[in-house]
Every structure is written in C-alpha cells, then in structure tokens.
Subunit: 210 residues, 2 copies
DNA sequence: CTCGGTCGAGAACGAGCGTTCTCCGATAGC
DNA sequence: GCTATCGGAGAACGCTCGTTCTCGACCGAG
C-alpha cells in the first residue's frame, strides 16, 4: 500500500494546520493561510475536510495522540514507578523549553472557542480526561493513593499555563518539587515505608488507562 | 461630584463589555453587540474608547482590580495566617460555583490572543504576577518558606483551568487538599512546631503585595 | 486526433465586523 | 421664532474570511 496521494496531501495539510493553529490560534488563521502553507489547492483542502471546524477537529485529534505518546514514551523510560511520577514533570520541562512552545493547545483552544463551540469543549475535556487517567495510572502503578492523582494533574495544568504566559520553564521545576513533596507526604501518610503496602489494597502494576 | 453622564456611560459600557467578553470570548463579540447591550450609541462608545483593543484593555484592567479585591477580601476574613493560605482555595471554589463561571479571563484571553496581541500578553503577565505576589504575601505572613508560594500558585492556576474545562468545582477541593499537604510538609521541614520560629527569620505580618 | 473527465489556480460571493459618516431631531442663545 | 450646535440612531465603507464557482490545462480512452 503506497502512501496514496491523498494520504500525503492529508499529512501535509495536517502538518500545516498544526503549525499554524498552534502558533497563532484558531480564529486568527484563515483557510487561505493553511492552503498556502500546505501548498495545496483550496479544492483539495475542502475535499479532505469539508469545513474549517472539521479540520480543527482533525488537528486536535492527531496532536492529542502524538502529545500523549511523547509524554508516555519519555516517562516510561524511567524504571522506578515512583520516579516515573516525577519524571512526568521533567518531561513537561523539556516541552516548555521547545522553541515555539505556546502552552497547551486545548487550554488555549478552550479559552478561544470554549464559549461558542461545543466540539471544542468536548475535545478539551477528552484530552484532559485522558491525561488525568494517564496520571492516575502512574500514581496507581507507584502504589500511591488515588487521591494524589488529581492533585498532580492540577500541578501539571498550572505549570503549562504559567510556563506559557511567562514564557519560562521555571514552573516545571516548581511543579516537580511540589509533586515530590506530595508524593512523600502521601507515602508517609501510609505510615509504611515503600514496598510494604498490603497487596489487597489495589493493583500496583500494569494499569491500563481509561 | 455627581456621576457625570459620561461616567455612568463608561460604567454601563464596561459592564456590558465584561459580561460579553468574559462569557463569549473577545473575538466573538462585536462592537455592535456591546453597543446594544450597553444601550449606547456607537459614537459614544468610540468617544470613550477609540478602538476595540482599548476597550478590551479597560475591561481587563477593571476586572483585575475587582477580582483581586474580592479574593483578598474573602481571604482576609480568616484570622489565622496559615488558615488564610487555605482559605484562598475555598474562595476559588466559591468562584467556580458562580453561575456563568468560565475560567480565568486572562488564561482564556491569552489562549485567544496571546499569539497575536502583545498587549494581551502584557495584561496576562501583569495579572498573574500580581496574583503570584499576593500568594507570596500570604505565604510570608504565615511564616512559611518562600518556595511554597509558586507551588500554591500552580495549584490555583491548575484548578481554574480544570474547573473551567470540566465545569465542576471539584478542583478547588483537590487543590486545597494538596495545598494543605504542602503547607504541612513545608512547616514540618522547619522541624519546628508552629509559633516557635525564630523572630529574625522574616517578617510575618503586614505584607504589602506588589 | 479527439473527446470526456479530472484537477489545479484563483476569482467570486456572501456574511460579519471594526470603524466612520450622514442625517435628523432636540436644545440653547439671541 | 430662528439658527447653530450637539448627540443619537443607524447606514455605509472597506476589509477579512469561509466557502463555492469558473476556467483552462492535462491526460487517458477510443
């Protein structure tokens, strides 16, 4: 199965869309900007996605998959489950330092269109829910209490927002430090050192997210 | 000094602007929507603010003052300085439950216009910096270590974002719990019980925020 | 060679919006 | 009472943008 012409066109279109939508916002970017960046005739663009909204949807869907995969890949290279929880924040720091970083595409998209576009709200919720589920898996795998997961998520979301607005990566470190304190405190609250939790209290490995 | 006609007009204009800009976003709202909501002739609107950008600026400036005042007022009613730190998150919860809550106006505005409007970036930074300074004051007044403040800020920002996207107030409680754990952990790290810190370590009252 | 169909390039259309302009009625001064 | 000024209501202008339409070049089939 060769990369049929329409599939490479689709890829070029989504590449251009992501580049433009992420860096300049959704409403600011016109279909003509995308057409010229993708080097595709407008007809072709509309043949692939019948409206701008559908194109935005496709952009966010592809970015969601890639973004979560990149996070998970970097985090999973850390062998110790409890260190993995903190590695998440290191990975966020890497992301913040990337040139062109401009915050979370879903937080930004929600701010831009959340009030007027139900699909945008759904996408933002789906992405954030998937992220929260992923963090919950990390927390469970580390044998930490469930209640820790949403707290770590708040730190991560806050770090994304602050890093974007101030244009600095410092929030990653701050969030990591806070997370470490919460992890230590939660682990201590068990009043049992690591590795001595009773096995019936909940599975600690092999969490599938969602 | 009677409320000169132009001042009541300005108030009505800013009221309408805030209502519309906050609930529907900035780009989505047209000057005509504002004009009709304010019940003012367009000429009058442009006499008060020569461009839409200036009107947006004025809207954010007034909201900034009010928002921070409301937070500070609610928080300051808590007598104990360490409890005040946590009361901040209770106050956020009240805000999240207000009808029409749609997240932080500056986070949303940054998501919408941060890429294309330098004034919007400046306003977002100024507001977030002022909030961070305020939290730093609370932390200092409670005799807690400086490094705690940005961590609490991240929790607050994350809570605002999550509450907005999911339309629930749960993040306030989660953030409060996390903040309590961080406060306890930070206070414990002093390895001194409350009230026994050496008086030379830093002023603990009367912090001016800036 | 000719014809039919496909596809690319860009013009065109219709709506929305920020901003300005026109007109008209009311009012104050003489 | 008459005129000059002001302010209100909304039309108009110029531009952008999402979407559609037109036209002409290319290409395989007969």
């Amino acid at each position: 199965m060769p990369p049929s012409d329409t599939e490479t066109a689709r890829a070029r279109l989504l590449d251009a869309s992501e580049e433009l939508f992420y860096s300049r916002g959704i409403q600011t970017v016109g279909m003509d900007d995308i057409r010229s960046a993708a080097g595709l005739p407008l007809k072709r663009v509309y043949a692939l996605y019948p409206t701008k909204s559908r194109l935005v949807e496709a952009y966010l869907e592809r970015r969601d998959i890639r973004w979560r995969a990149r996070i998970a890949e970097a985090v999973s290279s850390e062998p110790d489950p409890r260190e993995r929880v903190l590695a998440l924040f290191d990975r966020l720091g890497d992301w913040f330092r990337e040139p062109g970083f401009r915050g979370c595409a879903w937080i930004n998209g929600f701010g831009e269109l959340g009030a007027v576009s139900e699909p945008m709200v759904r996408q933002a919720r789906a992405h954030k829910q998937a992220f929260a589920d992923y963090v919950a898996g990390l927390v469970a795998d580390a044998g930490l209490p469930d209640s820790l997961a949403p707290q770590l998520v708040l730190l991560a979301e806050g770090a994304m927002v602050s890093a974007a607005i101030f244009g600095t990566d410092a929030p990653a470190r701050q969030a990591r430090d806070a997370a470490a304190a919460l992890v230590a405190s939660a682990a201590g609250a068990d009043s049992r050192p690591r590795g001595f939790r009773s096995p019936g209290g909940g599975d600690t490995v092999g969490h599938e997210h969602r």
